[in-house]
Symmetry: C2
Subunit: 214 residues, 2 copies
């Protein structure tokens, strides 16, 4: 009952054609990103991991970059999904903003390299990957939505929505990046231990505070 891919991996090379190479490579690449970071991903290693010659991968991905762009897109979409889920559970406007931030933070802490890949600068500008651009937009959307809701509630002037949305996103984004770099858990600014929860609580308080609510 094991999937074919797994069987293949267990039985070394059985057939000439792999059958699920593309997925297998993506799978291995996901793992490799999580464990070794984006820079640690090498096509040769992926080929070895999937039991295939390194040139075979080029039949499915034009480039190393193209492969990573695909994972980056995927990560952005996952981040968007996490945020939407969090937002849907909000009990109030400010609560929504907090949940949004915490979801972002948890996403990052859960797999730092994945978040870094999602925002890898080499893909930020690139017009070469339209799907990636769309995914990036999707990842911003929840922040805009939540802040708009806050404006509707009178928590801030309507004309400041976009700026406020940027500010909110920037803070959550920056907080998460600093957190996954270990910059909030050591040194002078040390918020707490290495655990996630204290960081999440601190972030929530900061958000609440910045919206005037005690």
């Amino acid at each position: 009952m094991l999937p074919q891919v797994t069987l293949r991996r267990m039985a070394a090379k059985r057939t000439y054609h792999h059958g699920h190479l593309r997925d297998a490579v993506l799978d291995a690449a996901r793992r490799m990103v999580s464990t070794a970071g984006t820079d640690g991903v090498s096509l040769r290693a992926l080929a070895r991991a999937t039991g295939v010659s390194h040139a075979a991968i080029y039949k499915h991905f034009v480039d190393r970059e193209a492969l990573l762009a695909e994972l980056s897109t995927e990560a952005l979409l996952a981040l968007a999904r996490s945020q939407r889920l969090a937002l849907s559970r909000a009990t109030s406007t400010v609560d929504g903003l907090c949940r949004l931030g915490v979801a972002y933070l948890r996403f990052g802490m859960d797999d730092p390299a994945r978040l870094r890949l999602a925002f890898a600068p080499e893909f930020a500008r690139s017009a070469g990957y339209p799907l990636l651009r769309a995914a990036a937009d999707a990842a911003e959307a929840p922040a805009i939505e939540a802040v708009t809701r806050a404006a509707d509630d009178g928590l801030l002037p309507h004309r400041a929505i976009r700026e406020r949305a940027v500010a909110h996103w920037a803070m959550v984004h920056g907080y998460t990046l600093l957190a996954i770099d270990g910059r909030l858990t050591e040194g002078r600014l040390s918020v707490a231990g290495t655990r996630v929860d204290p960081l999440a609580r601190a972030l929530s308080r900061a958000i609440r505070l910045s919206y005037g609510a005690g």
Copy 2:
């Protein structure tokens, strides 16, 4: 009256010993980071640029990483200096917080790759470079100072200083990273054109707003 280094570069290989190789390499590396990003820095290319065999560089830097760590340290110290300068010109507490943020943003926009190198994740944890750690602390310090001042002015409760400092830093940091990735100048959240000033003004407004001041 040209410095020896320049003369050497103009006159190809004159002496067996370079004389200023270390500095020359650092110089070339700084340029290379700015133009090609940290990933674009190769020791071989640096060797070529300084007119020396690639192995010579290893007499001055144990590693490629060590070289980059040095540049990273340098960048963090420069960032700290920029911030201190900005803070010293503040006309009020909130003005100081704004200036701090704008200085951070300008530093990043001025040389994006340099800021990214300053916060390169590979060095964030590394206990291997004590100077780098100290520099990272120095880069955080101004934020703490400015927020402490804000607390002294009664703009926020004293018990929230650290959390608020983190929040402030996170927002400025995140804002800057998003800006240099071009994520604030295109797409839905588009703050303005590609210029710096509009971004700086928007950041200032956001900071002011978040401290309750209109």
